[in-house]
């Protein structure tokens, strides 16, 4: 339920032209075939009473409140399950219907507590509304305990940290069960028992918290009463105002209504008109917002001369003046190129744009990079080389038209849950799934979903697998020759390359560990099943061949003609909320906004004229280069915007040494993070609830981030950057974030015409926006590639240098878990820690047994660069020889063991392949105690 309601048409829309004409209460209306009478009535402006129907779910026909009369039809059918027919004459308000509906309501109310005034859903309860609409004035059977057998004493399940389940208020409409099935696709809920004993159950007799429930909130959203209710509403009361904004977690970029009482955020409710999520959410976006008001927030600037000194709280003026003075001093002593900045994928486009402008126009160099360096920079390189632009090809909706989905190195049910729900819906409808992943991720086999093929390759062999798939396509005559001839270039050379016998599935079987026949079958399925769509994640990019693999996937899609329409494409699942946007905004050291190289004179000219200062035509330092240069003494000052490089970047010892070598480290963040421990200045940042700007999600959708409350720090982050620039002698000033977007739109062809006004008017747009597509381009490369012809690139498989050895015989790969996010700075400060209080090491039972390790033992994980201690969890979803951990907790610090290896083209770190050894920690109790004693932030409310 939601305070500020979008229209609910009762049943979902049907596709097609509005060709069926009918009348509802004398009002003519035309709708597509298959539309329900209930929806047609709503479209005609007639509300039919309902309880079990809502337009996010297929009709169910259980509450019997939506009965109607239809001329020529017998009885009083349920309008939700009755499809329209041409010439139908529908009556929704008759004496007979009124009596029937009152009778139904009497029965409901006879078994429902009459505590409306003290109920948490008072004023936001559909049962209450329907009692009013049906004119219920008495309950002949009595009510509550007077009505005989009832459910008034049904137990309350408060086990979930975020919502309660009060069974006494349940009307068994099944909306929660259907939401879990149809929207989320977890199928965790069920109706247990028959008849009067029917009740909602989360699994087999276990509380919600112990069930398969993933706390996405879809059931809470669907519940028409107070049965499933947010704890925050129970505690605080109903919100009184609402602001539509965008989630700050993963790259799906869900739209939410932030619902408040005054300035206090009560709940986040997924927004039905949000293009990315269409009313769905996950546990992070829906519930894990408590970090924004956590007591750990830094709200006052801090300064110190050395990072070993204690902090001194100072005014904004003093902090900004200190930063500006020190940066200029460093440049005076060590040269223009001795300072730089790192932008964040968690900040808005406008904040990122301001930082890169400060670097280029004020610092006078191109030493700006972004945290996409360590995640999706190979996507930028690979898709630009092949298609001509650094972005995914589809909108999220497109997956509903896919016939086969090739999922490579991604675990969307954990990392991109709302998109995973879309994907699972399509798979339940019959689309085929191919999973390429060393681990048996949940999508390989979960309720009503089973992959046709799971290619459990050895870590680091992606390119060999994708080349072998392409080899099969070419060798078995499955190339879409017409598409290739019309739309692509370089095919003949590539065909000769990929046809070589060393690329055959049989030739690479020993390298990849994937049985040749299984790989051939997967390739045939991809090439012949109809619309084939590739979705991928960091399991593709975070390799020494990440860029090669991106190009290999692009080759495969082009060769089979799977580009340029609904249901196909090559789609990165971006890790953070604004990875796409931060890259779009010119955060890379070789590119100005819009992915235009700094060496292009005409592009530089645009900014030089506008900014009134020359721009260097040479690339700047990337993040790993900055660390190397810090250690060789040529790089001395760094501004880090909202990124915890000390925890997230690989080879922690190397990173720490580099940060410690800097003369000035400025960190702008919500919290005193691991990086801030090396900082000289800590500038408080703003949470997404305080920001005013835009995020761009993985489908290139530019969404508004609206300020829900004033900045708790007193300043927007872009204002701070402008003030530093001004203190350094450059006149950088904007009246508002909207004016920054105006400058972006003015100077970046793919953002032409984008403005806050446009976004407020149309909701969101997917770039590129231009004269022919002022409201955006959901699907790219429809009639031609951005670069003209799609380019085939020869993708040689070059094995990583990282090999398992006698000393380090296992391969470690890293990833995420559903309830935590990135370095955990946000989610560790919420009740999500209830699900994932620590990072663990997943290990195959065989590897564990060889080492004398049991489930739950503390183990030492070591590589050639470092070691850490964590708890082992035995799991046969890991292949023998491969282990897995997450990097959400600084206590365990998974990146202590990851190495300096990186993607050849972009220097994206090779997080996914590290040779390691695992050994039982010698003193179990002592190690556990020591780990427990290490300081960690307390969970939020």
């Amino acid at each position: 339920m939601s305070l500020l309601k979008e229209p609910d048409h009762g049943t979902p829309a049907r596709e097609g032209a509005a060709t069926v004409e009918l009348t509802v209460d004398g009002i003519p209306v035309a709708v597509p075939p298959g539309t329900s009478v209930m929806r047609a009535a709503k479209l005609a402006g007639v509300d039919i009473p309902k309880l079990c129907a809502t337009d996010s779910l297929e009709a169910f026909g259980s509450c019997r409140l939506c009965l109607v009369q239809i001329d020529g039809a017998r009885g009083t059918p349920a309008s939700c399950t009755t499809p329209v027919a041409p010439g139908m004459v529908v009556h929704t308000q008759t004496d007979k219907l009124a009596k029937l509906r009152r009778g139904v309501m009497e029965l409901y109310i006879s078994d429902h507590p009459l505590d409306c005034l003290t109920c948490s859903a008072n004023g936001d309860c559909e049962l209450q509304d329907m009692a009013g609409v049906t004119g219920l004035r008495e309950v002949r059977y009595g009510s509550g305990v007077d009505a005989g057998a009832n459910h008034m004493d049904a137990p309350k399940d408060t086990s979930n940290p975020y919502f309660d389940f009060d069974a006494s208020k349940c009307i068994v409409c099944s909306r929660c069960v259907r939401a879990c099935d149809e929207i989320q696709g977890t199928l965790a809920l069920t109706i247990e028992g028959r008849g009067f004993d029917s009740k909602v159950a989360a699994g087999a007799g276990v509380p919600f918290f112990e069930s398969d429930c993933v706390s996405c909130g879809a059931c809470v959203q669907a519940c028409p009463t107070a049965t499933l209710q947010e704890k925050s509403v129970v505690e605080l009361g109903m919100p009184t105002r609402s602001v539509v904004t965008t989630c700050a977690y993963c790259g799906v970029g869900c739209s939410f209504k932030a619902e408040l009482r005054g300035d206090e955020l009560v709940r986040m409710v997924p927004y039905k008109d949000g293009g990315a999520n269409e009313g769905h959410s996950c546990v992070k976006g829906r519930f894990a917002f408590g970090y924004a008001t956590h007591p750990d927030r830094v709200l006052t600037p801090r300064v110190r001369e050395s990072f070993t000194d204690p902090w001194r709280e100072v005014s904004w003026e003093e902090a900004i003046s200190f930063v500006a003075r020190r940066l200029r001093e460093i440049q005076a002593e060590h040269g223009t190129g001795s300072i730089g900045a790192i932008t964040s994928s968690r900040t808005t486009n406008e904040e990122v744009y301001a930082v890169q402008k400060m670097v280029r126009a004020v610092f006078g160099n191109n030493n700006v990079d972004t945290c996409a360096r360590v995640c999706h920079s190979p996507t930028g390189y690979g898709l630009k080389q092949t298609f001509g632009t650094s972005a995914g090809t589809q909108d999220f909706k497109s997956v509903a038209k896919a016939d086969v989905i090739l999922l490579i190195g991604a675990n969307p049910t954990d990392a991109h849950p709302v998109f995973a729900s879309r994907m699972k819906r399509r798979l339940r409808q019959g689309a085929k799934l191919i999973v390429v992943d060393p681990r048996r991720i949940d999508l390989v086999r979960s309720p009503h979903v089973e992959a046709a093929h799971h290619l459990a390759l050895r870590p680091g062999t992606n390119v060999a697998v994708v080349n072998a798939m392409a080899h099969v396509v070419v060798a078995e005559g499955l190339v879409d020759r017409e598409f290739v001839a019309e739309r692509c270039e370089g095919f003949a050379e590539w065909e000769e390359f990929i046809s070589r016998p060393e690329h055959s599935p049989e030739a690479v079987e020993d390298i990849t560990g994937v049985p040749a026949e299984e790989l051939r079958a997967a390739a045939r399925l991809y090439a012949t099943a109809g619309n084939a769509a590739i979705y991928y994640g960091l399991g593709v990019t975070e390799h020494s061949q990440g860029s090669t693999m991106v190009m290999g996937m692009a080759n495969l899609a082009m060769a089979t003609g799977n580009i340029g329409r609904d249901g196909v494409g090559v789609n990165p699942l971006r890790g953070q909320n604004n990875v796409q946007g931060s890259c779009d905004m010119g955060s890379f050291p070789h590119e100005l906004p819009g992915y235009r190289h700094v060496a292009e004179d005409d592009v530089r000219g645009i900014y030089e004229e506008l900014w009134g200062t020359p721009i260097l035509p040479e690339p700047g330092l990337r993040i790993p280069n900055m660390f190397d240069a810090a250690l060789d003494g040529s790089f001395r000052g760094l501004f880090v915007q909202g990124e915890d490089i000390a925890q997230s970047d690989p080879n922690t010892q190397h990173v720490h040494a580099a940060l410690a070598a800097l003369d000035l480290l400025v960190v702008q963040d919500l919290f005193e993070n691991e990086t801030a421990k090396f900082a000289h200045v800590l500038l408080p940042g703003t949470s997404f609830l305080e920001k005013d700007g835009t995020f761009t999600n993985a489908e290139r959708r530019i969404n508004r981030v609206r300020p829900v409350m004033a900045p708790r720090t007193g300043k927007h982050e872009w204002q701070i950057v402008c003030e530093i620039a001004q203190a350094m002698g450059y006149p950088m000033h904007y009246d508002s974030a909207a004016r920054i977007m105006d400058e972006i739109a003015l100077t970046t062809p793919t953002f032409a015409g984008v403005s806050f006004d446009l976004l407020d008017r149309v909701g969101s747009v997917q770039w590129p926006c231009h004269d022919e597509a002022p409201e955006g381009t959901p699907i790219m490369h429809v009639d031609g590639f951005v670069r003209g012809k799609g380019r085939f690139v020869e993708t040689t498989y070059v094995p990583t240098r990282e090999r398992s050895t006698r000393r380090f015989p296992l391969i470690l790969t890293t990833g995420r878990i559903l309830t935590q996010y990135n370095v955990g700075a946000q989610t560790r400060r919420t009740a999500n820690v209830a699900w994932h209080p620590e990072d663990v090491l997943e290990l195959h039972p065989h590897d564990a047994e060889e080492r004398g390790i049991s489930d739950g033992d503390m183990v030492v994980l070591s590589s050639r660069v470092g070691r850490t201690t964590l708890r082992a969890v035995l799991s046969d979803r890991m292949p023998v020889g491969v282990c897995y951990t997450t990097f959400h907790h600084p206590v365990t610090g998974a990146n202590v063991v990851t190495t300096e290896n990186s993607d050849w083209a972009t220097n994206c770190p090779e997080y996914k392949v590290t040779a390691v050894q695992v050994a039982l920690a010698p003193e179990q109790a002592a190690v556990r105690e020591e780990l427990t004693a290490r300081p960690v932030p307390a969970a939020g409310e």
Binding site: N367, L621, R622, E900
Partner: protein
């Protein structure tokens, strides 16, 4: 920990991707990549490493470094 200087390691990584091409063509592409994506001080370090004997550079990377050196001389 690998003691190879970063510019040598990174140049060799790039060169490995083009190793299937004829040496001159591979070196040309490696040099072009480095020119597009490397900050000048890294390119200078590579050229200086070449001048100091080029220890550890694979043949394609070495030829690419030579191309970068002659371009910078021009």
């Amino acid at each position: 920990m690998d003691a190879t200087p970063p510019h040598v390691r990174l140049a060799n990584d790039i060169a490995a991707q083009f190793a299937h091409k004829p040496l001159d063509e591979a070196a040309r592409q490696v040099a072009a990549h480095i020119r597009s994506f490397w900050e000048p001080r890294m390119r200078s370090a590579l050229v200086a490493h070449l001048a100091a004997g080029g220890a550890g550079l694979d043949p394609v990377a070495r030829r690419a470094a030579e191309e970068l050196r002659s371009a910078s001389v021009r």
